[in-house]
Symmetry: C2
Subunit: 391 residues, 2 copies
């Protein structure tokens, strides 16, 4: 090791070459830079690259395979490529990637990333509107726990993400519980990372717009112990759950999760104090679990939900849907909430489902937004659903 | 949306274009591939790139700025670049990056990454030896909680990472507590991510080599609420804590953390049931906190520790070190453990410190390893220190 190469500040602070590398090994540019007017500049130091592109969910969808717009960045004399959005961006949590000579990568100058199934992208947040609910603000914070529960129904120990509200540790109160389910390809990390659940709950509770509650984010893939990298399968590549997606085993074994939560957390244990919701496949599961166990949940949320089982479905859970819905609605759930974007590929399936509910005069609340099957919508639905719970 | 473009499997599973993008948007190569003989292949699909390099901590340190070796990868006819290590890699948790035409990036085919200060690298694990302790194995798992404690001493709410052992939630037992501190530039995420603390504790407890215990990983940066991205500062770039590194405020306010843990967790509250250790600057803090509060800790671990305060240090915490050590050792701590690598830039400072302990006949245990100021060593020291605690 060349001691003369260590800057004085590092000697002073007692840190090592390794830390020096960790801090300075990346690109020494600021990216993204969010300007005061909410335009955003992206930068990449790449003097030897031939072409750098930027792709992100703030661009209108293009014809590209990835359904996102792509722009070419411009290289300056120092070899730094740059692109600034021509207009301010609306308040939102955004994701983006660079393409370096055709290879899609995260921004080396930005440590903040989000994984969605097998895709990792860089992320940034524009405040001043809806996304203020997704920020960590200076409000009391709940705790987030990754714990493991025993599932006799699935014959394995399985991982759960649990949000407990501010004051839970130090108090003695009992809380209502909201079970929140991910979509196909997701896992127990999806809602907490992409969904910003803990930030949304902290902020809505601080604003007096939501009751303090516990939120349980299960892993809904019946064949899986935990998220990729968090189970004994090792550092595997994430994939869709395949044949176990609609085998009904997760739905049938759902009481195992409730039993764990109600045995180990200070919770209220009646129908009026339980909610269940999910996105896409998690909406499907919420619909089927809540009608399979009609005495469990007074609040049900279907966010961009799959409605009908597909393929060869044999589980009893998915049989006699009409009869089970009749039983469920006869027990008068306090809130049955359906939300979907008007360009979602599941839009018509939800129109058809609502028609069935209407024909039977089953009451529900309906929220229709723009756009499609995207996390932007699921975060919005969460911020709308949570304030209605346990009132 | 072109419906004809959706593969049948996706229609079947009810997932959307967005999920399709998330799953298939990356590189369709397998990387890294760990062969049965523990050689490893790395691959990147980059037909238009001019040069792809691989850099990782499994190469011998070279002359590069980043102190890591770098090799050029080879492009095949399909535009996929590849490199396979000529020899099997020893058991370890490794990190690596690609350089695409000079730009250092993570592997787009590998979602598993680790952040060290401001540097994000891809990661993989070679089993069959020491790193089996870093794996998620099929053993009972503890829970990991990110919670917030009130620090009157630092006048803020601050974030903590807490490991509770398997069975904590469902039992009634009281546990000993191990306080584990990060280095300069780190935060409350460092030990749980880079240090594999929860995996090491799960595995050592399952093997009967460690007592069940609670591990508290504090944020030791006195001016900081939480890790970058987890506080109201927003999605900021990580940096060293600068002037607050050695102002003594964190050390003086350490009892705030103990008070929170002992008020809100089922713990044993005596000296024999408290341990403190840390790496680098965290070792410095462990040394100074344990002598400042000589009745608190029976177990003290200094991993590659900074010893002497540097620069203008005025805090009372750092005064009269000799006198305070005399008081501390008169109270006979059960284990005072010093570990360092023989190429560490702090090696001589630790030799000098041990000489002082020897001169005063203060007993301690000493562990010297190869190599320097790196996480590989800190994980090893953790696996050696934990089995000695609370016996």
């Amino acid at each position: 090791m060349k001691k003369t190469a260590i800057p004085a500040i590092l000697l002073l602070t007692g840190t090592a070459i390794f830390a020096q590398q960790a801090l300075w090994g990346g690109q020494e540019v600021v990216s993204p830079e969010i300007h005061n007017d909410y335009r955003v500049s992206f930068r990449l130091n790449a003097p030897h690259a031939l072409k750098i592109e930027l792709t992100g969910d703030f661009f209108p969808a293009g014809e590209q395979q990835d359904s996102q717009g792509t722009v070419e960045m411009t290289k300056n004399a120092q070899g730094v490529w740059e692109y600034t959005t021509p207009e301010p961006l609306p308040s939102e949590l955004y994701s983006y990637s660079f393409r370096i000579d055709g290879v899609k990568v995260t921004d080396p100058a930005n440590v903040h990333q989000i994984r969605d199934v097998a895709s990792v992208t860089s992320t940034f947040l524009i405040g001043g509107g809806q996304a203020d609910l997704y920020k960590v603000n200076a409000v009391p914070h709940g705790a987030v726990t990754r714990c493991w529960y025993d599932s006799p129904g699935l014959e394995m120990n399985r991982r759960l993400t649990v949000y407990t509200p501010p004051g839970y540790e130090s108090g003695g109160a009992e809380y209502p519980v909201f079970y929140l389910l991910h979509g196909a390809g997701g896992d127990e990390e999806a809602w907490i990372a992409l969904g910003r659940t803990s930030q949304i709950l902290d902020n809505l509770i601080a604003l007096g717009r939501a009751q303090p509650m516990i939120v349980v984010m299960a892993n809904c893939n019946a064949g899986q112990e935990a998220a990729p990298g968090e189970s004994s399968e090792g550092l595997v590549r994430p994939s869709f759950a395949g044949t176990t997606l609609m085998d009904g085993r997760f739905e049938a074994a759902f009481p195992d999760i409730i039993r764990f939560i109600e045995s180990n957390y200070r919770v209220k244990k009646d129908k009026a104090c339980r909610a269940i919701a999910g996105l896409s496949m998690g909406g499907f599961r919420s619909m089927h679990i809540s009608k399979q166990y009609p005495d469990l949940f007074d609040y049900v949320g279907l966010f961009s939900a799959v409605i009908e089982p597909r393929g060869e479905v044999t589980s009893e859970v998915f049989q006699n849907t009409g009869e089970k819905l009749k039983v469920q609605f006869a027990k008068k759930p306090k809130c049955y909430y359906i939300a979907i974007g008007n360009t979602d590929f599941l839009y018509q399936a939800n129109v058809d489902f609502r028609r069935k509910l209407d024909e039977n005069q089953y009451p529900y609340l309906y929220c229709e937004t723009g756009e499609g099957h995207i996390w932007k919508n699921w975060r919005i639905y969460l911020t709308k659903f949570v304030p209605m719970l346990f009132q």
